[in-house]
Symmetry: C2
Subunit: 202 residues, 2 copies
């Protein structure tokens, strides 16, 4: 692998785990077996490096999502596929999700960049939801807000390990499987267009 790519990869892991502010170029270079100046040779500043890392992460995320079939007639398959992809990342490369979290912090400078890279997937997902909503195959009012809720739930369940600990569950492969199953059940119930039995809950 090229030095350039190695830097990008290592930076992604470090930024995603310790945060951008929590990662110094010196420390990054040390784990790479390089000097800081070699990093600055490829990426003229830390900000530029961060942008490149965000781009890389967004691209990888987008590529992973590409395996989710875009078929407007079956929204549930898309939800299930997305959950599968996100949870695979949560085990194989948690730093990538951490970086997305970092890059989507309120007021983040790279949020727009991230948004742009994923705009295609967002649009496709929204479009599917809109059609499904219109056909009554999914419960909800606004496709964008529904997508937002879905995103929040999936990413939260996949990444909020400290909250999970607070609930008394230690993150492990076994509990992760349970978490995913419960998440899918939860999402399915939320999307199900069956008429609400308002008597029970009201």
């Amino acid at each position: 692998m090229s030095t350039r790519q190695r830097i990008l990869d290592t930076a992604l892991d470090s930024f995603g785990t310790d945060g951008v502010d929590g990662t110094s170029l010196d420390a990054l270079a040390r784990t790479l077996g390089l000097r800081k100046q070699s990093i600055l040779y490829y990426y003229p500043s830390k900000a530029v490096l961060f942008e490149a890392v965000v781009d890389e992460a967004a691209t990888r995320f987008a590529e992973a999502l590409d395996e989710v079939v875009i078929d407007a007639t079956d929204v549930w398959d898309q939800v299930e596929g997305t959950v599968r992809v996100v949870f695979r990342m949560a085990t194989q490369r948690p730093a990538l999700l951490g970086l997305l979290r970092e890059a989507s912090r309120p007021g983040s400078s790279v949020a727009v960049q991230l948004t742009g890279r994923l705009a295609g997937h967002i649009d496709a997902a929204r479009h599917s939801l809109e059609i499904a909503l219109k056909d009554g195959r999914v419960a909800g009012d606004d496709a964008r807000l529904l997508l937002f809720s879905l995103y929040s739930t999936i990413m939260g369940v996949a990444t909020e390990v400290e909250v999970l600990r607070a609930m008394g569950i230690e993150p492990s492969l076994r509990t992760l499987t349970q978490r995913r199953a419960e998440l899918l059940r939860f999402l399915r119930a939320a999307l199900d267009p069956a008429p609400a039995s308002s008597v029970t809950l009201a």
Copy 2:
């Protein structure tokens, strides 16, 4: 207000908005109209200050949640109340939610502390859910995992403003109301124990 309390308040806002690493004691002192050494007089180190801020935030959050009636017979009221509390914070003091986000980052040193402060509320909520699950008044398998999903959804929808922008919605008071309404509908559908019409989605 005492200087000690002013420092705590300002630090909460700053830590919650710019992050701990993104906030220097000098900058903090400047906005307070003090010198850094005055901060260090009350809080001997930045780490101690951060812990105090986390404690403060957790306490305020807990106090706000106290207005949510704990009544095991009506889980939905609790969910609705929690959403109301969280959304009020999102408008009145977004930094507080930002700080919770910061403090619950994976690997956070203060996560345990935060957990401890909110343990009572977590337990109560789980207990309510367990009873409701047993009685069939709520759909789901595991109370803790269900609570985890609920938390993820609510906090995500309330705080992920950049993701909201990515969906094409600009955060404002009006859209916030819509967001809340859609969130409540979403959660209600997810919790509703009505039998799933599996034909539709499968």
